[in-house]
Amino acid sequence: MSSASSDGVLSQIDPAVLAQLHSRRDAIAKGASASGVVLAGLRMATVPAALAALSTNVFGQGARLPSAIIGVLNFALRLEYLESEFYNRGVAADGLIPLADRTIFTTIQGHENTHVEYFRNLLGSSARPKPTFDYSAGGGSGSGPFADVFTNYATFLAVAQAFEDTGVRAFKGQAPTLKPYKDVLQAALSVHSVEARHAAEVRRLRGNFMDMEPNQGWITNATTDIPGTAAVYAGDDNVIQLGVDVRTITAVAAKEITEAFDEPLSMAAVLAIVTPFIAA
């Protein structure tokens, strides 16, 4: 259960995405070696390796990433490690996920494992190792507030929602740092919107597809029904965008205005949220 098979990984990636990345003009502009590196990645049948090779190639030979973005990419990798192991363990836990919902979680599991592989390949030797996690949020004690996370489906869903909504806000917060590196920015945004799809699905699943706010697919105000997750939603009730108080320029109510914009979280805020889940 440690990682998806190569076939599994391959099936997670739309051929159109591959074609698009393969034709990126700035990768090609770096020279003929680009296609060689990509082909080598494809021969190894690891598509994330090929994608990462394309991205690293943008920075020149030797896959040396600018130090400014190594920290951001390791931050992204840390979140993907957290999510992938969470779903690997959840899917493997006997009797946790009802049969009717398994496809949803094997789908998310596959994506998170692909994301881990992508960021690890992108970082190469700069990739930090996977931490040891404590999904009870007990900081290693195993007896935190979510101690029954792999035996109680309701707890598992609640933690999944918190992780996905945190992931969306975390990736968004790093976009400005990645801005000069266009291909990495686009890849990160392509991961970011997939995390948002996951978040909406898990939220709707928790609401049993009914109108049990805040369990819509979107975040209303800064509201959460999950104890201990206030920090995940802090500031999401913002209604000022680009200096415009959106309440003054639309007939739509403030509640829906807050749903219409997902707010970023700083790296420090995200790390504070994640810390209780890390044992070592």
Binding site: D14, V17, Q186, V194, E201, M210, I249
Partner: protein, 240 residues
């Protein structure tokens, strides 16, 4: 307190961007002026309607066709504004259709009404942020959509939401302003949440809500080609 400092930062950033865009606009205005003068020379008595440049440099031709210049952030925002206009008009029409409450369950009506509200917010926000630089109101062309059909409405919604996600993901690379990139990032994930919910309604409890580990990032050309059947005005992009 922190809110104040944040909005101050944004104001400063915007001022810089506006200055850059103004310089770019003045350069283009000079060129446009020359083109209009030439056109005037060629005229044989008939009055020639010159293309009208918005404050952004987006060119709106007499036939209503629009040319967006992706060398300016403002026109990347106009591109988003065009797509949000399309989405908002679609959901407003769908929700106000007489069949709406009979073809959708109560919870589905709530989802679609929420999405309508979000898209109207996005449209109104871009209109306000762009001000005089915004492109005109577009004329939707929804003749191929059967608003009395659940399947037609949901399939069109899926198309528009996936298209919106791919459009923002693909256009982010053209934005010079961190503030604009930031706001695009705040919106794209909401479009992705919509896409997930619509796909979930269409194919409940499947893996359809997120068909790939990486979402597409489409070029503006690809997106506008896909959107063209639904918009009366032709929209094209240069410098992308």
């Amino acid at each position: 307190m922190s809110t104040d400092s944040i909005s101050n930062e944004i104001v400063v950033t915007e001022a810089n961007i506006e200055a850059q865009d103004r310089r770019a606009f003045l350069r283009r205005a000079g060129l446009a002026g020359a083109a209009i003068a030439l056109a005037g020379c060629g005229a044989s008595g008939k009055e020639i309607m010159a293309p009208e440049a918005t404050a952004s440099g987006a060119v709106v031709n007499p036939d209503g066709s629009i040319v967006l210049n992706f060398a300016t952030d403002i026109d990347v925002l106009n591109y988003a504004y065009a797509l949000e206009q399309l989405e908002a008009a679609f959901y407003v029409t769908a929700v106000s259709n007489a069949a709406f409450s009979s073809i959708f369950s109560t919870s589905e009506q709530r989802v679609l009404t929420d999405i309508r509200d979000h898209e109207v917010v996005h449209k109104d926000f871009f209109a306000a942020a762009l001000g005089a630089a915004k492109i005109p109101n577009l004329t939707p062309r929804f003749g191929a959509i059967d608003f009395g059909s659940r399947t037609s409405v949901l399939q069109t919604a899926k198309t528009f939401e996936d298209l919106g996600v791919s459009a923002y993901n693909g256009a982010a690379r053209y934005l010079a302003s961190e503030a604009y990139l930031g706001v695009a990032g705040k919106i794209v994930s909401v479009e992705a949440r919509h896409a997930s919910a619509i796909r979930d309604i269409l194919n409940n409890r499947s893996g359809d809500f997120a068909p790939n580990a990486f979402d597409l990032g489409n070029t503006p050309q690809t997106v506008l080609t896909a959107a063209a059947p639904f918009i009366t005005e032709s929209i094209t992009v240069v410098n992308a």
